[in-house]
C-alpha cells in the first residue's frame, strides 16, 4: 500500500509540491504506465498462447468443417438407340435460366426484367415475376431446358446488361426425336430430387437401366468464401463424372413403326379403345417391336397433368384374360404329357356341364368324333376341356408354371406384373376352374407372358427370356453384348414341332382365314376373350387377339396382336387376324424373309 501511494505521490508530498510550484517527479507515474503497458501485453500474450497453442487443434478443425463444401457434377446420360444404331433417346446440353432475386431487386425493376425474359423465352411474364418475387431469396429458377435460339437470346441479353441478377446454369434435357415411337419401351425420366439438373429414369428402359444410362456424378470439394466462391488457395479435390453408357435395344425402328401404324389402323377400323402389338424373335427372346395404344410423348412429360392410361405399358404391365389363344398352351401340355395325340378323336359337344358348371362352344355347335387339329380349327372350348381333364389338374397347372404364367418373365422393362393363376389347392380354386382355364378364361396373363410361352412352341420347346436391350456401350468404348438367355425347356422338341404342324393345319383348314399370309407358312391361333356376365357376352368388353409365328420352317418372327373393346366387330378372327397378317407380311418383307415358293405366291394372288 505504501509503495503504491508513493508511486502516485502522497498527500503530504503533493501539498508540498503545490506550495513549491514545482511539478512532481514524473518518473513514478511513467513507471506506473510502463507497468500498465506490460500488464496489457501480458494479457494479450496469454490469450495468444491459449489460442495459438492450447486450442489450436480444436479451432482449426472447426474452421475446416465450416469452409469445406462438396458439390456434384452431373454426368451425361447415355443414349438409347435401336438395333441398327438409330437414336431413340438422347441427352442434349441446354441451359437453365436462373436468377438471384436479391441482386435483381437491388439493381433493377423486377417487373421489367420479367417482361424482357418473358419476351425472350415465350413464357407468361406474370409467372416469371412471381418466381422473382422474393427480394431476400438468392436463387430462383425461371426456366429449365432452354435450348437453341431462346438460350442464345437470353445469353446475349445478359451480356448486354439487360438482365441484372439473371444467369444461365448448365442443364441437360432428354429428348426423344421420334416422339411417341416406342414410348413404352423407352419410358421417361423425371427430375432427380437429390441432384438438381439431373434426371432419373422413371419407366421402361430409362428406369430399368437407370444406373447404366445415368453414370456416376463427379464430385468437387473445395473451400468456399461467404459468397460461395471457391477460395483459390483452399483445398480442392475434383473427381470427374463417369458419364452414362449407351444402351442398344433389340427394337428395330422400322418394325416398331409397322407395329404402331397397324395398331392405329386396327383401333381406328374397329373403334377399339386400346391395344397392343408385340413382335418378338422366339429364337432369342428379342423384342423387335412393342406398341401400345394409347401412348404418350416422353419428351413432353411436363404437359401431362395426370398419369392416365397412356402411360401404362400394356404389354408387360397390364393383365388380360387370354381366351382361345390359351388353347395352344393346353394342347401343348396335352401332347407333351401324352394325354392326347394329334389324331386322338373326341366328341366336341356344343354345351356341356363340368362339375356342375355349364360350358359352351363359341357357336354352341356340336362336332362329333373330332381330332385334336379340329379342336384348334374350331377353337372348341369343350375340346380344350377334354384335353385339360385328360391331363389332370396337377399336371395341367405344373405346365402353366413351366410356361411362366403367374410369374414375371424378367423382361428388362420397369413395371412388369406377374398375372394371376389360381391353381388346384389355392383357396379360390374350384374344379370347374380347370375347364375355364383350359380355354383361357379365369386366368390373367400379360401379353409378354403369352408371347414368351407361345415362343417356346416356336423354338422347339425352349422358352427364351424376353428382352428389349441387346448391348451396352460404355463411354470408354467397351461394348457389352447381352446374350440370349433361355428360361427353360418347357416341351420336348417333338411335341413342339408336332404342335406347330397342327397349328398350321388347323389355320389352313379355316375357310376365308384372314390371318393367312400369301407366300408364307405361318402358325397361329385366334383368341376372343369373352367376359360372361349373367350368361350374356358383353361385346364392348371383348378382347380380340391373335398370336402367330413364322415362317414355320425356321420361326424367328412372332407377332401378338391384342385389340381391346372393339366396337364394330367382335371375334379375334375378324379383328386381330387381318392386323396380324399385315404386320407379319410387312415385317417379312422388311426382314427379307424369302417366300416359300414364288409359284405359290402367284397362285395365292389369283
Amino acid at each position: 500500500m505504501k509503495s503504491v501511494r508513493g508511486l502516485l505521490g502522497s498527500r503530504n508530498k503533493r501539498a508540498a509540491d503545490v506550495d513549491a510550484g514545482e511539478p512532481p517527479d514524473p518518473s513514478r507515474r511513467l513507471i506506473l504506465m510502463l507497468l500498465g503497458g506490460v500488464g496489457a501485453a501480458g494479457a494479450l500474450g496469454w490469450r495468444l498462447f491459449d489460442w495459438h497453442v492450447n486450442q489450436a487443434a480444436a479451432l482449426a478443425a472447426r474452421g475446416s468443417s465450416a469452409l469445406l463444401t462438396r458439390s456434384e457434377i452431373n454426368p451425361r446420360r447415355g443414349n438409347i438407340v435401336d438395333r441398327s444404331g438409330d437414336v431413340l433417346a438422347i441427352s442434349r446440353s441446354a441451359v437453365r435460366v436462373v436468377a438471384d432475386p436479391s441482386e435483381l431487386h437491388h439493381d433493377a425493376d423486377p417487373f421489367e426484367v420479367a417482361d424482357r425474359l418473358a419476351e425472350l423465352l415465350g413464357v407468361d411474364a406474370a409467372v416469371i415475376a412471381e418466381r422473382l418475387g422474393n427480394p431476400t431469396s438468392r436463387y430462383a429458377e425461371i426456366q429449365r431446358e432452354v435450348i437453341g435460339e431462346p438460350a442464345d437470346a437470353v445469353a446475349a441479353a445478359i451480356e448486354d446488361g439487360q438482365l441484372p441478377g439473371v444467369r444461365l446454369d448448365p442443364d441437360r434435357m432428354r429428348t426423344y426425336p421420334n416422339r411417341e415411337l416406342a414410348a413404352h419401351v423407352l419410358g421417361f425420366v423425371g427430375e432427380n430430387t437429390s441432384r438438381p439438373g439431373d434426371v432419373v429414369g422413371q419407366a421402361g428402359i430409362e428406369a430399368w437401366y437407370d444406373d447404366i444410362l445415368g453414370g456416376q456424378p463427379g464430385i468437387v470439394s473445395s473451400d468456399i468464401d461467404r459468397l460461395g466462391r471457391r477460395i483459390p488457395i483452399g483445398r480442392y479435390a475434383h473427381q470427374p463424372p463417369q458419364h452414362g453408357s449407351h444402351v442398344t435395344l433389340t427394337i428395330d425402328r422400322t418394325i416398331q413403326h409397322i407395329a404402331e401404324q397397324e395398331l392405329d389402323a386396327a383401333i381406328d377400323e374397329f373403334s377399339a379403345a386400346s391395344g397392343t402389338i408385340l413382335i418378338t424373335n422366339p429364337k432369342t427372346g428379342e423384342v423387335l417391336g412393342l406398341a401400345n395404344r394409347p401412348a404418350y410423348d416422353p419428351g413432353r412429360m411436363h404437359e401431362y397433368r395426370t398419369f392416365g392410361p397412356e402411360f401404362s405399358n400394356r404389354a408387360s404391365g397390364l393383365i388380360f384374360e387370354p381366351g382361345s389363344t390359351f388353347k395352344l398352351i393346353t394342347m401343348a401340355a396335352g401332347l407333351d404329357t401324352g394325354a392326347v395325340r394329334p389324331e386322338t378323336t373326341h366328341d366336341l359337344p356344343g354345351i356341356m356341364t363340368y362339375y356342375g358348371q355349364e360350358f359352351k362352344n363359341w357357336d354352341e355347335r356340336t362336332h362329333p368324333e373330332q381330332t385334336m387339329v379340329s379342336v384348334l380349327q374350331h377353337s372348341s372350348n369343350t375340346g380344350a376341356i377334354f384335353v385339360a381333364d385328360t391331363i389332370g389338374a396337377d399336371r395341367f397347372y405344373s405346365y402353366l408354371d413351366a410356361f411362366g404364367f403367374g410369374s414375371r418373365t424378367g423382361i428388362d422393362l420397369a413395371g412388369e406384373v406377374s398375372g394371376i393363376v389360381r391353381r388346384r389347392g389355392d383357396p379360390m380354386w374350384f374344379l370347374p376352374d380347370l375347364a375355364a382355364n383350359s380355354f383361357g378364361q379365369g386366368i390373367s396373363v400379360t401379353p409378354v407372358q403369352l408371347a414368351t410361352a407361345v415362343g417356346a412352341i416356336a423354338n422347339d420347346g425352349v422358352m427364351m427370356r424376353p428382352r428389349v436391350a441387346r448391348a451396352v456401350t460404355h463411354p470408354d468404348g467397351r461394348h457389352e453384348t447381352i446374350e440370349p438367355q433361355s428360361i427353360r425347356r418347357v416341351l420336348s422338341t417333338e411335341t413342339a414341332r408336332t404342335l406347330v404342324q397342327m397349328m398350321e393345319a388347323a389355320e389352313s383348314a379355316v375357310t376365308g382365314n384372314l390371318a393367312r399370309i400369301p407366300g408364307y407358312r405361318t402358325a397361329g391361333k385366334t383368341g376372343t376373350a369373352e367376359i360372361p356376365s349373367g350368361g350374356k357376352l358383353l361385346e364392348d368388353t371383348a378382347i380380340a387377339s391373335y398370336v402367330g409365328f413364322g415362317p414355320i420352317e425356321h420361326p424367328h418372327v412372332l407377332v401378338l396382336v391384342i385389340i381391346e373393346r372393339p366396337q364394330t366387330a367382335f371375334f379375334g378372327a375378324q379383328v386381330a387376324s387381318p392386323t396380324y397378317a399385315r404386320v407379319m407380311s410387312r415385317v417379312a418383307t422388311y426382314m427379307k424373309i424369302p417366300p416359300r415358293e414364288r409359284r405359290d405366291l402367284n397362285a395365292a394372288r389369283t
Binding site: M33, L44, L59
Partner: protein, 388 residues
C-alpha cells in the same frame, strides 16, 4: 536549423554530447527500426489480406495494395524528414492546429456523406481520397496538451489547469468524434488525453472528474447505436458463435487457432475469405493464421517495445513538452494497437479500430508515421542514458 539546435544542445550538455553524434536523421536505432519494419511488414500483410479481392474484379497487384505501398514508403520518408524538425516548433502551432482540428471535426458532422456504411460521418471525400479529420485531431490534441502542460508547469495541480484547460481540450476533442459516431477512436483519444494529464502530474481526484462525465456519455452513445449495442451484448454474452456480430469474433478465433505456432505461411491463410474486413480491423487475425504465434507474438513485442521506448524517451526528455509529446504519441499508438489486438482476441467488445502501421488505410498510416517522426526528434533531444 538542425545543426543550430544540435550546437545548442551540445553546448548545454557538454561532454556527453560528444558521445552522441548528431548525424541526420535519427539517433535512436530502436525507434528507427520500428519506424521502418512495422509499415513495411504491414504492406506485406495487406497484400496477403487483399487476396480475396482477386475473386472480385481486382487484379493480383491491385490498387489498394499499391496505394498502401506508396503510403508506407512516403510515410517512412516523411517520418525521417520530421525527425530532423525540432519538436519545440510544434509548441507554437499546437493551439492553432487544435482549432483547425475542431473546425474539421465539427465540419465533418455536417458535410460527410451520411449514406455511408453504418451512417457514420467520419470522412471528408475529396475526389477519390477520403480524409478522416479524427486522425489529424489526435495529433493536434497531443500537441496542445503537451504545450499547455509545458506552459502551466507546476500549476497543473490546480483544478483550473487540470480540469478546465487540459481536460477541456480533451473533452472538446472527444465529443465530436463520439458524435460521428466513432466510439473506438473516441475511446482511444480520450484515454490518450487522460494518460497525458495523468503524466503531466494532475491530482488524482481531478483526473476522475472527466471520466465520470465521459464514460456515461460513451454508454449513452452505445445504447443509441443499434450495432454498437449488439456488439456489446454479444461480447457480454461470452458466446463467440452468435450469428451476426459474433461471426467476426468466431472467424478471427478460428484464424488464430489454424495458424498454430508457426502459421500456414504468407498468403496461405483461408480465414481472410470469411473475415468481414481482413485487410483492416481484422488484419491481426490474418497475421495470426499466416504466421502463427511467432507472427502475432512478434507484433505484440514490437508494440510493447515501442511503448517502453517511448516511456524511456519521455523520462529522458529535457522538458515537459517533449515528455508529454512522447507519452501522448506512444500511448496513442500502443493503446490503439492494444485495443485492436484485444478486439481480435475477444478480450474487449468489437470496436472498429485499426492496427497502427499495419492495417490498410493511407491517412491512418501517415498519421502514425508523422507521430513517429515527432517522437524520433524528441528522442534526439532526450538523454537516454539517464535512468528512467
Amino acid at each position: 536549423m538542425s545543426a543550430e539546435h544540435g550546437a545548442h544542445v551540445s553546448a548545454a550538455r557538454g561532454a556527453r554530447a560528444l558521445r552522441r553524434p548528431t548525424s541526420w536523421p535519427a539517433r535512436d536505432p530502436y525507434l528507427l527500426i520500428l519506424t521502418v519494419v512495422l509499415p513495411l511488414g504491414g504492406v506485406v500483410l495487406v497484400a496477403s489480406a487483399r487476396i480475396p479481392a482477386v475473386l472480385g474484379e481486382s487484379s493480383l497487384l491491385e490498387r489498394v495494395t499499391v496505394q498502401q505501398m506508396v503510403f508506407a514508403v512516403a510515410g517512412v520518408v516523411l517520418a525521417l524528414g520530421l525527425s530532423a524538425v525540432d519538436y519545440h516548433r510544434y509548441a507554437r502551432i499546437a493551439l492553432p492546429a487544435l482549432a483547425a482540428a475542431w473546425v474539421s471535426l465539427i465540419g465533418v458532422l455536417f458535410v460527410a456523406d451520411a449514406t455511408d456504411l453504418f451512417a457514420a460521418r467520419r470522412w471528408f471525400r475529396i475526389g477519390d481520397l477520403t480524409v478522416q479529420p479524427s486522425e489529424f485531431a489526435k495529433i493536434a490534441m497531443i500537441m496542445a496538451l503537451a504545450a499547455l502542460a509545458q506552459k502551466y508547469g507546476g500549476a497543473v495541480h490546480s483544478w483550473r489547469v487540470s480540469i478546465l484547460r487540459l481536460g477541456g481540450v480533451m473533452v472538446l476533442t472527444v465529443l465530436p468524434i463520439l458524435l460521428e459516431p466513432d466510439l473506438g477512436t473516441a475511446i482511444t483519444v480520450g484515454v490518450v488525453g487522460f494518460v497525458m494529464i495523468f503524466a503531466a502530474g494532475a491530482r488524482l481526484h481531478h483526473l476522475l472528474i472527466w471520466p465520470a462525465v465521459l464514460v456515461p456519455a460513451a454508454m449513452l452513445s452505445i445504447m443509441r447505436n443499434a450495432y454498437q449495442r449488439e456488439r456489446l451484448f454479444t461480447f457480454l454474452s461470452g458466446d463467440p458463435d452468435l450469428a451476426r456480430t459474433g461471426y467476426q469474433a468466431a472467424q478471427a478465433q478460428i484464424a488464430m487457432g489454424s495458424g498454430g505456432v508457426t502459421g500456414r505461411g504468407l498468403g496461405l491463410g483461408t480465414q481472410k475469405f470469411l473475415l468481414p474486413i481482413p485487410d483492416s480491423d481484422a488484419i491481426f487475425a490474418v497475421l495470426g493464421e499466416e504466421f502463427g504465434l511467432v507472427g502475432t507474438g512478434t507484433v505484440l513485442v514490437l508494440f510493447l517495445a515501442l511503448f517502453v521506448r517511448g516511456i524511456q524517451i519521455a523520462a529522458a526528455s529535457p522538458d515537459v513538452f517533449g515528455r508529454l509529446l512522447a507519452v501522448g504519441i506512444v500511448t496513442q499508438l500502443a493503446f490503439q494497437a492494444f485495443v485492436n489486438m484485444a478486439v481480435v482476441t475477444g478480450l474487449v467488445p468489437v470496436t472498429g479500430i485499426t492496427l497502427p502501421f499495419i492495417s490498410r488505410g493511407g491517412s491512418s498510416l501517415l498519421a502514425s508515421l508523422v507521430m513517429m517522426g515527432i517522437l524520433l526528434n524528441v528522442a534526439r533531444h532526450a538523454d537516454l542514458r539517464r535512468k528512467a
